[in-house]
């Protein structure tokens, strides 16, 4: 536990000790700001009873942030330690491989959550100026953040896996980006099956990330995507652990 907390602190610290953390942070703030102005325009033009979070999600900036931030946050986790050699000093301390993997993942996920905090501010601003307490329903806000964190966990674990595979941060980022985009694009296949029935439609309904996330933003928590995201996250973390461990098989 002590090693885990120490490593998580170090992981978080490394984001703020280098420029890359601040670059990601400001890029995300910029994108969130753009989506916010977008949202305000929609709110000004027509009356709507949809939750703010769903309208925010409707701008699709969410995916831009997720797909771009995931590779940048996770590429360093293992690849940088391997290329600088600190992986060797880390793995010769009495810390278990699983603890290292979990700590790296936690660090990435926590930083990712920090990236999404400005969204809260946006929602509060809308609420303040609309004088309508219904704008900020804790339930919808909670389910939106649940979706953001679950999807984030999935993408971070994918990124950790990619980073563990290589000693080049660029290669790690490219693998994460390619994998993340593919996963995202699966939802378009799933959309083309919505009017059909049969096993294909059923199968692809499970990977419709866009629609699943829209449900979360609407305040609907369906256990199927929750289980799907969590199991994929565990799967990638398991693979990461195996990759880290594999140096002992050779």
């Amino acid at each position: 536990m002590q090693a885990y907390l120490t490593l998580v602190r170090r992981e978080m610290g490394s984001h703020f000790l280098s420029w890359s953390g601040y670059v990601v942070l400001s890029a995300v703030v910029l994108l969130l700001g753009l989506s916010f102005t977008n949202l305000l325009q929609v709110l000004n033009s027509e009356a709507t009873d949809r939750p703010v979070t769903e309208m925010f999600y409707g701008t699709m900036y969410f995916w831009l942030i997720l797909l771009l931030a995931a590779p940048v946050i996770t590429m360093r986790t293992f690849a940088r330690e391997k290329s600088s050699g600190t992986f060797e000093t880390l793995m010769t301390t009495p810390v278990r491989d699983a603890v290292v993997v979990l700590a790296k993942f936690t660090g990435a996920l926590l930083f990712y959550i920090i990236l999404w905090l400005p969204l809260l501010a946006c929602v509060f601003i809308v609420r303040h100026f609309s004088n309508d307490p219904a704008v900020l329903d804790p339930g919808t806000l909670g389910s939106t953040y649940l979706g953001i964190i679950l999807l984030g966990g999935l993408y971070m674990s994918l990124g950790c896996f990619a980073s563990a595979l290589t000693r080049s941060q660029i290669v790690a980022a490219m693998i994460t980006f390619a994998g993340g985009i593919s996963l995202f694009l699966l939802s378009f296949i799933s959309m083309s099956f919505t009017k059909q029935t049969g096993w294909k439609a059923q199968l692809f309904a499970h990977v419709g990330l866009i629609e699943q996330m829209q449900d979360f933003a609407r305040g609907v928590v369906d256990t199927r995507p929750v289980v799907f995201y969590l199991s994929l996250t565990f799967f990638f973390l398991f693979l990461t652990h195996k990759v880290v461990e594999s140096r002992r098989w050779k």
Partner: protein
Amino acid sequence: MDNGTMIEVEHLTKRYTGRAAVADVSFTVRRGEIVGLLGPNGAGKSTILRILSCFMPATSGTVRVGGLDVFTQADDVRRRLGYMPENNPLHRDMRVREYLKFRARLKGLSRAASRDRVDVVMQQCGLDDVHRRIIGHLSKGYQQRVGLADALVNEPELIILDEPTIGLDPNQIRSVRQLIKDLRPKHTVLISTHILPEVEMTCNRVLILDHGTIRAADTPENLQKIMSETGQVIAEIAAPWADLKNCWDQLPEVQSFDLAAAEGDYIRCALTARAGVDLRPQVFAMVRDRGWALRELSRSRHSLEDIFVRVTRADREEEES
């Protein structure tokens, strides 16, 4: 196994995709010894150290540190170990004290213990002046000390240092060597290097490694003694060339000699004696009898360098023939 053995390596072999980096190596290191692992680049030094530090497993053979197997009891071994890998990798974005505390906590020290130990090792390694500086901004000598302090921070029984003085200037090398020497007898130290004077100055025992096998293992003094039996005597004498040549021809103990003009009227004679004979008294007696002037009389001590070259070259020649 008795309590005095720190490292026990038996028939250690490590293969990388068909090529054996280490082939059937066995050696033991006693508690409190400083042992140097000496060999040219690619001889398998780092591989042995990585196996000892539980970073990777051996292909075959057993390795025990303090009686514990490095493969099955890796966690316990790591707790007793301070390891500084090749090129001394550090988190260059952290500050010195912050980094050492981070490492101490990772190695399982409590908050209070890590604070105390960090203070101790920083003083031991002369890092007090730079404790707030960012590691990446420090000079290489200081960075090396940070790596050394990291290896020492958990008070390990065994310290493994892979090329600890590489890339340092002579003053820094001297201070790092002194630091290593001071670790005796509390710690057992295993260092790898391809710099020969380093081993001569710091180690009680040398293992010469080449092509993944141990070629020689002894104290530096003993290895020198073996070599000096065929050593040369150098004498600079002011005398007519022909007379001098005549003298050496007549001395039965001189096996062969070589004359060369030195500065002034002197002639530099390099004399090879028959085995086991010290030529120096005879040379002096001869010079005194003839009334010549003698400027230098010395026996060339074989440095480890000669031993090293001989051991590793003999191997190559065998291979070629």
